[in-house]
């Protein structure tokens, strides 16, 4: 089985979010970039398929040269090859189209992406990619087994889970649950050394067509002060929730 894991290069979850250039761009100053957490669960599941079922695992990212350390980290975790599509990510559709082309050119059976990136939260790349490829698609996937061409996936639904049966080629929008948090792999020294020698191929984009354009950013309005209520005055809290906030 040939697996392609799509890696989004995103600010660490603890990052302070600021903007620059008249609020038109994300301020990367002092920001640490990581593998998108939803993708990392998928990558770790892919490593399981590699170890147990002899799958090959390649990773891909759409972005400029600044994203390469994130791809190297994925190689250090154990991916075999990395591909970088050399263009800034403009919108979900453009990224999905480029990833679909890489998936098609490499005849991958299973394509694993995260359900959303934690920066733009678009939540559309995996589904769009599947539709472009005419592959099957399971979103918010929390468990995945593959036997031959048959796949069994569990998807999180609002308030529960759904078990789905489908077949390869398959695109997954993955998340926590695909593997446990404690199973996430931290690259060891050997992995990091080996990653330096693994291929990282840079390919040029096929087009620059996008469906949407980010115009500007803004930060939420500052919050008012918290009202502290004494612990022996819970009636006051109930009164505030009822009469002021009007939520009970």
């Amino acid at each position: 089985m040939k697996i392609l894991v799509c890696i989004s290069h995103v600010p660490d979850t603890t990052s302070k979010i600021n903007f620059t250039d008249n609020n038109s761009a994300f301020d990367t100053n002092g920001v640490q970039f990581v593998i998108n957490p939803n993708d990392e669960f998928g990558l770790t599941r892919a490593m399981w398929f590699k170890e147990k079922q002899g799958a090959s695992v390649d990773v891909v990212n759409v972005g400029g040269p600044e994203t390469e350390p994130t791809l190297r980290k994925a190689l250090a975790i154990g991916a075999d090859n990395a591909i970088r599509v050399n263009t800034p990510a403009l919108d979900g559709y453009q990224v999905a189209k480029e990833l679909a082309k890489v998936a098609q050119d490499g005849s991958y059976d299973l394509i694993i992406a995260g359900r959303e990136s934690i920066d733009y939260n678009g939540g559309m790349v995996p589904g769009m990619m599947a539709q472009i490829l005419k592959a099957n698609f399971v979103n918010t996937c929390v468990s995945l087994e593959v036997e031959g061409k048959q796949a069994t996936a569990i998807r999180e639904i609002d308030g529960g889970k759904e078990t789905l049966k489908t077949s390869l080629p398959l695109v997954i929008g993955g998340q926590k649950g695909l593997v446990e948090e404690s199973d996430l792999k931290i690259p060891n020294m050997r992995g990091i050394m080996m990653a330096r020698k693994k291929p990282l191929n840079v390919v040029e984009p096929s087009s620059t067509e996008s469906f949407t354009q980010t115009k500007s950013f803004e930060k939420p309005a500052p919050k008012g002060e918290v009202k502290i209520i004494e612990e022996d005055n819970l009636d006051q809290l109930i009164d505030l929730l009822h009469n002021e906030a009007k939520v009970i």
Binding site: K176, S210, K227, E231, L234
Partner: protein, 322 residues
């Protein structure tokens, strides 16, 4: 030209998210001088959509679509969009909406904006305001395609009553065999519990509760409020509670009317994930807990003493205000 809204049903009944999406669609239609057409699958009664401004309903009744199937639903909605000559398709952001919307976007070759929080601006192009960086910021996105898809965030635009005819027409899309390549083998859903996605109130517990054996505190309070229960990341990582209850940046987002955090210090990832909630109450024994800065109301105190008392008082309140 018209606005199409996809109104999701569960067991034949419309979800609140569908009425919110319909309200939003009506707002868009008013701006653009047109009407709202809804598309619904196997609904018991589509009249209720009229309360939120829906003029026409394309009703698809098909036993093959009794259970949700993203591919088939997207295919059917794309055909409904054509039938209604819709330039804008509006939907909510439930798990199913998020599943099908990207498929629909490729089928319609439409730009899709998710997590939208306000009506679009149409004076200078077509722009929407979206929540990004897990609610830590917003961005303004221009949709540059002729057809557009908008996913409206839960509890952002809200319900707006607006009487219209909701005149129903039966609609039969042409479905393909490939639409059914994914088979639902089983569904595991507690029917007696409110879900985090649907809940108006969410009660959430953190490490301050000291162990899973103390979760009755959270559950009792949630029961009184008809709330869903949730937890912080460490609690789900330690296996005290299932992953499905983990709320925050890498867990589920919360956009309820009321969020009550008990024994949760308020890591930045947690705060981001719950910040779309309208009112936040924090109960924590550490006055320095970062969550107090993000909350509307706070109680500095021992959860083991405060929460049972609060539960009792709310019981009385509910009994008197029933």
């Amino acid at each position: 030209m018209s606005i199409l809204v996809y109104t999701e049903t569960e067991n034949g009944k419309f979800k609140k998210a569908s009425f919110e999406a319909a309200s939003y669609a009506k707002g868009v239609a008013e701006k653009m001088g047109t009407d709202v057409t809804a598309v619904a699958f196997n609904a018991e009664d589509t009249k209720a959509l009229g309360d939120y401004g829906v003029a026409k309903v394309l009703h698809i009744q098909n036993d093959k679509l009794k259970t949700f199937n993203a591919e088939a639903y997207a295919d059917a909605i794309a055909q409904a969009a054509q039938e209604a000559s819709a330039d804008v398709v509006v939907l909510g952001q439930t798990a199913n909406d998020k599943y099908l919307a990207p498929l629909l976007a490729v089928q319609l070759q439409a730009g899709y904006a998710s997590n939208v929080v306000e009506l679009p601006g149409i004076e200078n192009g077509f722009t929407v305001k979206r929540s990004v960086f897990t609610n830590k910021a917003f961005n303004h996105t221009a949709i540059t395609t002729d057809k557009k898809i908008i996913g409206v965030s839960k509890n952002a635009y809200g319900l707006k009553e607006n009487s219209a005819a909701a005149e129903e027409t039966s609609f039969s899309p042409n479905l393909k065999e490939e639409d059914f390549n994914i088979e639902v083998a089983s569904v595991d859903k507690a029917t007696d519990k409110v879900t985090i996605a649907d809940a108006e109130v969410v009660v959430s517990g953190g490490r301050g509760l000291k162990g899973p054996e103390n979760w009755n505190l959270i559950e009792d309070l949630a029961d009184v409020l008809g709330a869903a229960t949730a937890c912080s990341k460490p609690v789900s990582d330690m296996g005290w509670r299932p992953h499905s209850e983990h709320v925050g940046q890498t867990g589920k987002p919360v956009a309820s009317n009321l969020y009550i955090a008990i024994g949760i210090s308020g890591a930045i990832q947690h705060l981001a994930g719950v910040s779309a909630s309208k009112t936040k109450v924090v109960i924590n024994n550490d006055p320095e807990a970062p969550f107090f800065k993000a909350a509307d109301y706070g109680i500095v105190g021992d959860a083991f003493e405060v929460v049972p008392k609060l539960t009792e008082k709310l019981k009385e309140f509910k009994a008197n205000n029933a």
